[in-house]
Symmetry: D2
Subunit: 142 residues, 4 copies
């Protein structure tokens, strides 16, 4: 898809960092999980809480590839962004990046496949119609 | 001290919550740790990163008392606030609260004693002069 | 109560520590949460998973007081222990300690009030009979 | 390399799980980070703490690919295992798996490239000789 990315700035906090003074790498995935929440809330206008709690739709990750290019340190301001690379019938592929908000340096990059599932059965379900439309509206049609 | 509290809003995220669907209680302390960072950065204007990394001053907690009054759920907007209750020579006592940003309901309340330490020796040191002055400016003199 | 404490050893891991190279204090509460699980599983013989998932009983913390006496560093072996200080009708008070497994040095100490709740209503319920009996068997009657 | 894998069992804890009641996926990376510590300590006999704190050698991840095949739930016992797939001059590739300790079901699988770095300069350095020898002894020569 060719539309614009969804992005948010974030401060690297003390609690994100390890004894080497840099972001503990699993914490990047926690940060991107928060970005997906903001994207569903503010980018797509769907409401993450409504999706998960009322509609009982989950978005588990089934595959990811990540490259860690440069370290992020406590106090850094970073930009987290995501773009929809592929929109399938029951899954979507996100291309996410963490860059320095100061100089644009790429810190970490990830390709992630999410599946829409029923939180009752943990089985994959069709991407809901309103979610699909909102994605196409925001990021453009494939 | 009688001055105003320092406060920030925050969204309760999926990653803050446990299998009961509510904030996992240790996560409140992670949130308040972030509030202390913001307070040092934005409230006191000292720069948390500078304080910790360049000046090698730490702010470990030596004592806390916390009461959990009501649960917070994913998607809730909460207000985290802190007030300086006591400013000693090498320690300070914070009175922190988490309330619902929607209706003001008290969720959690904490009294926390922090000590200024040297990150080289892990020993207590005097609260730096500029930090003390900034606290008195923001929160009022005892 | 006067019976013996329930204790487990644990290694302080890289992921428990902060940029100062010592345990990030909220992580102590995560460790003690794990100790409570082991206590319910192995000390009381009740089965934590059964209690929470099948019987839908939660054990939220409503109050805690903690003192941090000495730092724990990556690679330290610590002993986590808990003793039941008070067994009420819907709540229990635990006295927990983290000490060095090498020399017994007290690192952190906590008094914590837990309430048995229904995970459906989030309301307090009576401590189940089998849980009460198992506590009295392990730790002695008040 | 063709030698045996290094493996450890672990209980899936309440604190590993998300509001859907299953392991929050970044937590798998925290668990595998712990496995690498145990491998360096007990498998290689090098001492993770000595390596990181005294010798100032870090093992940051520069690339990973992960597939999440089935969910793990609170109370599950899992086996975490790692095998060295490739041993380079400054990097090594680990093939890690999380399987059910009850029935062997594959839960999650990861290929991860780690680089040995100086914690002073954050630059890559040669894999220390004793580490290389210990790896070849445990896992076999390529």
């Amino acid at each position: 898809m060719s539309g614009k990315a969804f992005a948010r700035e974030r401060l690297i906090r003390f609690s994100d960092c390890d004894p080497a003074g840099i972001v503990f790498y699993p914490q990047y995935f926690v940060m991107f999980n928060g970005l997906v929440e903001d994207w569903v809330d503010e980018g797509l206008g769907i409401g993450f809480r409504t999706l998960v709690i009322e509609r009982r739709i989950g978005l588990p990750t089934v595959r990811l590839e990540a490259d860690f290019r440069a370290v992020s340190q406590m106090g850094d301001r970073v930009e987290l962004s995501l773009q929809v690379e592929r929109l399938g019938s029951r899954s979507l592929t996100l291309d996410s990046r963490c860059t320095s908000a100061d100089n644009g340096q790429l810190r970490m990059q990830m390709r992630q496949v999410l599946v829409t599932t029923s939180l009752e059965s943990h089985q994959a379900v069709e991407i809901p119609h309103d979610v699909r439309e909102a994605i196409e509206r925001l990021h453009g049609r494939t």
